[in-house]
Symmetry: C3
Subunit: 139 residues, 3 copies
């Protein structure tokens, strides 16, 4: 059994999705692991991870529409307001999506389906450096 | 440390939940692994996985009721509409649940609690073949 | 590769969040594993896990506000009502958060970010014993 762990930063520039699939595939490839698991972790509570359709960008546009309803900015009931109108909503969006994901590794690649991509979802409206750690294990 | 990986397909026939707990237990049993982890991954973005109560089917009926509110079909604001009224809602439901899950393996079985079952939740209304990959690691 | 698995119980006294970060760090420390992964699993369907901000308790107060809207108690459409007004909502809240989480292990500690904590979220209003299993793997 082998184990490789790497961290990298992604610069975000506002509320949006950022495709990190190629970066993950690169770490799997470099690990030399044929069969196993690949764990992806984001070290933040106002940006998150998701696996969703990688083809039509309207899917991610519509996810934004719905999440703006589920976790509105500047809700009058929020108490946690000191960091801005987009901060508490960002924490809720993170809870409703994923802080960490595990993918199967099969035949030296991630086992993602044809239509699946891994996205960093930045929920804050400003610019941030987001740290991600990838751990690949297997044989 | 041992590692076993298997894939299987589940045929779905409409929006519903499908209990895959026994299939997962079977792979754990066949792996010969006593203590470790079992990872379950669905290779799709409009069907998902969840762990929920395995006893009263009304729990899953009520989950459907609430998810129909959180992620309505045919919402007038959706842009991603070419694949049908149930497609964008299916992507949202997948994001709000899980594409992958890890269970502890303890004493040659999954460590699921007495009332926990693992379900494939098909969010589309048509018929599909859904591919799932199970990876068991441990000793 | 090493593997350690432990279970523990947390006593809950009503709907609230309970910080279990130190307990997880303790198991990682005791495992002697320098680099790897730490999996946390809750064996229940009406209490769940989440990683969220560990500083301002208002974040968790506001999460409660929003989840009370997304998954209301005693909704008139619920069929699963025999176990009380807070039971079906507890199952929904569990589905919308996490039953299991994996953290990276880096340099003998969890790789949690500075502002991240791991919380047990008890969704029932009564008192319960909640079982959690932690599995640490790595080298």
């Amino acid at each position: 059994m082998k184990l490789q762990q790497h961290s990298f930063n992604t610069a975000t520039s506002g509320r949006n999705t950022y495709n990190i699939t190629q970066k993950i595939e690169q770490f799997i490839s470099e690990s030399g692991i044929k069969t196993g698991l690949c764990h992806v972790f984001i070290h933040h509570t106002s940006a998150s991870l998701m696996i969703t359709e990688n083809a039509d960008p309207d899917v991610r546009y519509d996810l934004e529409t719905i999440f703006s309803r589920l976790a509105p900015d500047a809700d009058p009931e929020y108490r946690h307001i000191l960091e801005g109108n987009d901060d508490m909503s960002a924490h809720i969006r993170s809870i409703l999506t994923q802080t960490e994901l595990t993918l199967p590794v099969s035949n030296y690649h991630s086992g993602l389906g044809v239509w699946q991509g891994v996205f960093l979802w930045e929920h804050r409206t400003g610019r941030f450096q987001r740290k991600i750690t990838v751990t690949v294990t297997g044989k």
